[in-house]
Symmetry: C2
Subunit: 233 residues, 2 copies
């Protein structure tokens, strides 16, 4: 029974996915016993995973009250986008500054590979994955594990809203809006190839800001999505 196998890791992955997708409604309390039962474990590994997720900003915690889902608000999402700009602009700057020519060429090759699939992809979920990968690959070019780590955390916390936004854009404009960002990806790559730090930073900043502007609307749609299926607000 007690197989000293990594239950926490498993539970963590599951709860994290649930938190990412707002399967816990914003601000709602998380019931430890129900969760544990649904996983077929005791509360111990559940609580350990929950504690990790609090530290990562997916959940909040109040002593003697328990764990709660993070709030979902336009200002919160805006903050995450702003933080993304902070991390990605500096990471890009460092990537250009620190990389050798051959390293930069390798990075561009990787990015080309990502874009080639991105180009002909129809699935919003996969599209989002590829976009994230594009940005994370650039960040990895900074050779700064800390920036990468922060970026991946931010991505995970924005993911739900971005996906809603993407699905919506896809439905409305027949994949037109989504492809309209490819030029901006190509522009970033050109700036990298040119080793032009300040222009590259400016390009990626505007690129992220453009996404950020759709935020408020997307949050509203996200709320609808969350409270639609099994309702009773």
């Amino acid at each position: 029974m007690t197989k000293t196998e990594d239950r926490v890791g498993r539970v963590y992955d599951l709860v994290r996915r649930m938190a990412e997708n707002f399967e816990f409604k914003p601000e709602s309390q998380i019931n430890e016993v129900a969760l544990a039962k649904s996983f077929g474990t005791s509360r111990t590994p559940v609580r350990e995973a929950l504690n990790r997720l609090v530290a990562e900003g997916f959940l909040t915690f109040q002593a003697r009250r328990g764990f709660f889902c993070r709030p979902l608000s336009p200002s919160q999402i805006l903050s995450l986008y702003e933080a993304r700009i902070a991390v990605e602009t500096e990471a890009l700057r460092l990537a250009i500054r620190k990389s050798s020519d051959s390293q930069l060429a390798a990075l561009l090759e990787t990015l080309r590979g990502v874009l080639s699939e991105y180009d002909q992809c129809k699935d919003p979920r996969r599209l989002l994955e590829l976009d994230e990968q594009f940005h994370v690959d650039i960040a990895k070019g900074s050779k700064n594990q800390e920036l990468v780590r922060i970026l991946e955390n931010l991505n995970a916390r924005i993911r739900f809203v971005r996906l809603i936004d993407l699905k919506n854009a896809y439905l409305n404009d027949g994949a037109e809006t989504t492809t309209s960002q490819i030029p901006s990806h190509l522009m970033i790559m050109q700036n990298i190839a040119d080793r032009d730090e300040s222009v590259a930073v400016d390009t990626i900043r505007k690129h992220i800001e453009r996404r950020r502007e759709e935020t408020t609307e997307a949050v509203a749609k996200a709320f609808a999505e969350i409270y639609f299926v099994d309702d009773d607000a």
Copy 2:
């Protein structure tokens, strides 16, 4: 006995302080039972606190092996400084952009207050606290809780090395090196008053970079400090 009082919070604070100060030697394993015993609790709240600290980057974890102190290396510290630059430059930019004149005036007043104590402070520990506060206050001007949160995490993880560095500078140069950064603080404030984003960002970047350059040496001294007292490497 089980008073449902916040043991995790208490334990978390204690372990965090220990991790900050590298009272666990870098890379060394953390013994849960010993820790629990020293706190007079069971392992449960200890493990919960440990899990939080892993997510915050103070510790690492390997399944079935346990919790370990984070490594201490120049490159790791460099990464944290680079991340600080990313966060603080963008936060400063946002603070200038988003604040009203009166908000900016209030911020500058706060900063003046911090500097006035900083000026005549002799204690390295307090000096560091005040410097951190100066930077965090600016970051708070961004009205972005996420950036503030990230910065505070980064600060805590750099703190030990910075303190060693500060103490050393103080001893060697009779508080001369430390005061030499005041002009740079004043310069940042002037840039804020002028609402000059790009210059302000450039000033704070250089300010942080100057500190970063002392990193490698400071890490070496930090190692000496860690392995000196109860030695046996």
